[in-house]
Amino acid sequence: MSANPFAPSALEKRKKTKERVAEYVLAAITVSLIVPVVAILAYLVVQAWPVLRPSFLLDNPKDYMTAGGIWAPLVGTFFLVIISLLAAAPVGILAGVYLNEYAGDNWATRIINLAVMNLAGVPSIVHALFGVGAFVLFAGMGRSLLAASCTLAVMTLPVIITSTREALSSVPMSFREACWNMGATRWQTIRTIVLPNAISGILTGVILQVSRAAGETAPILFTGAVFFAPVADHGWESFFPYGLGDRCMALSMHLFTLATQVRGVSDEIQYGTALVLIGLVLAVNSFSIGLRVYLRSRKKW
């Protein structure tokens, strides 16, 4: 019987071993990334266990915030996020459309690109001071839900612009050319072919900013968030407690308050607040990823 011509030589065996080692090392490193997240979550759950009941979410803070739940800050964060996205998403998406579909390669466009990039890198405390100057003082909003939302909007704008541009550029140029050759205007082409097919990428970008807006403390610190605001326990007012001009409580701010500003708060409440905050962020991000996977599977080309 002749030797098997496909049998691996010594060199190939060595290469195969090296390949396996590389694969295992990289896989181990990747898995180790999950460890901190799991560890933090587990620690929080264990520490917050006594307060983890639905009433924690639904009750307002009581007894100078040493007891009760986190309803008021939760509602506050919810409204902050919604209003800031209502402001940032249309502006960001339309700016992304302009930059990707209309802007020519000239010095004005380059300046805009530079500005967007730099805005993305501004530290959040600087956003806070900008918010105080521009919205609280100059625009006369005073320290309010509106001013805080606008500050958050400015902070999330660059990422929305960038993810819109990426989503738009993933639509092949050949589609646009086919439409232009039939006499469609640029806007008709964008409205009928480009935007509908880029919407999945745009949505994921916007949703990711939800978790960021929910988690940031600095931008809302001086612009509208407060340590405590009385909120009704039941009824209509408990769902819409803050007017646009009112100061509000927020989850991220509340955690800071409990940890540093209030005496006598039990550990469980602090850990519980932290758990809710991180849980919210994780839930929103997971939803965004799931949405992206689902929309990608429905890709039309």
């Binding site: 390669d105 050759n181 039939m182 080309w301």
Partner: protein, 251 residues
């Protein structure tokens, strides 16, 4: 005496330092097929882009000279979208828009303002029949255009180009990405269509020009070298370069 439909008058097109077309003067008679042959980079696609002014989309482009359609300088007209509706274009690579087959063909008329469903139905059927695609898709009109085969997508592109009843049909190397059978079918379609519209056919398949074109123009290095009746170009070309190209000696 046939009318001259399209007239290039000393047209020079440049992007930056590069010259895509150099002092081209060409008359294209109506309701005929003009074949345009020549090696790659000789300016053939640029010529087509001038006819429907999609050359405008090239950044930094400069066009000198005049392009007249029915005597009108198309670089001076106000509504360029109307011009693009009068000129149908088929590209080398088949493009199916990510819409249903029906919406693909209805796209042009809809953007032009047509809303009546019944009229759109008629146009869609007529154009799909003209493009010899009707039998294959009539039961699958809601299928995505991008899911058709290459040959079907190219015929879909042709149907889209015909949907606005253009006076001029431009084809840019339409057969390079499709099978020979579909190519033959489209060539038959073009022979029929030339009774209704002027056809400008850019091709790098010299024999295709010989089969289809009434007149043929030979381009090389951004210049028009020679133009004339197809048989003359292929048998008694006056320019040595033309002769060498059509016999396969160069290019």
């Amino acid at each position: 005496m046939t009318n001259i439909h399209i007239h290039f008058e000393n047209v020079t097109v440049s992007y930056g330092a590069k010259r895509a077309l150099e002092d081209v003067s060409l008359e294209i008679p109506e309701k005929q097929i003009l074949g345009i042959i020549g090696p790659a980079g000789s300016g053939k696609t640029t010529l087509l882009k001038c006819i429907n002014r999609t050359i405008d989309f090239v950044p930094g482009v400069k066009v000198c000279g005049r392009v007249l359609i029915d005597g009108e300088d198309i670089f001076r007209i106000r509504n360029v979208y109307e011009l693009r509706r009068r000129v149908g274009m088929v590209f080398p690579l088949p493009v199916g828009l990510p819409l249903s087959v029906y919406e693909n063909v209805a796209y042009g008329p809809r953007r032009a303002g047509l809303r009546d469903r019944h009229e759109l139905d008629l146009i869609v059927e007529k154009c799909l029949r003209q493009a010899m695609l009707w039998d294959e898709v009539k039961d699958r009109m809601q299928m995505l255009g991008t899911k058709l085969s290459g040959g079907q997508q190219q015929r879909l592109t042709l149907a889209r180009a015909l949907s606005l009843q253009p006076e001029i049909l431009c084809l840019d190397e339409f057969s390079i990405a499709i099978d020979p059978v579909t190519t033959m079918r489209i060539e038959d379609i073009l022979r029929e269509l030339k009774n209704e519209m002027t056809i400008v056919l850019v091709t790098n398949l010299v024999q295709q020009a010989r089969r289809l074109a009434d007149r043929t123009a030979f381009f090389s290095a951004s210049r028009l070298i020679e133009v004339g009746e197809t048989e003359t170009i292929f048998t008694k070309a006056s320019n040595r370069l033309t002769e060498r190209y059509v016999t396969g000696d160069v290019g």
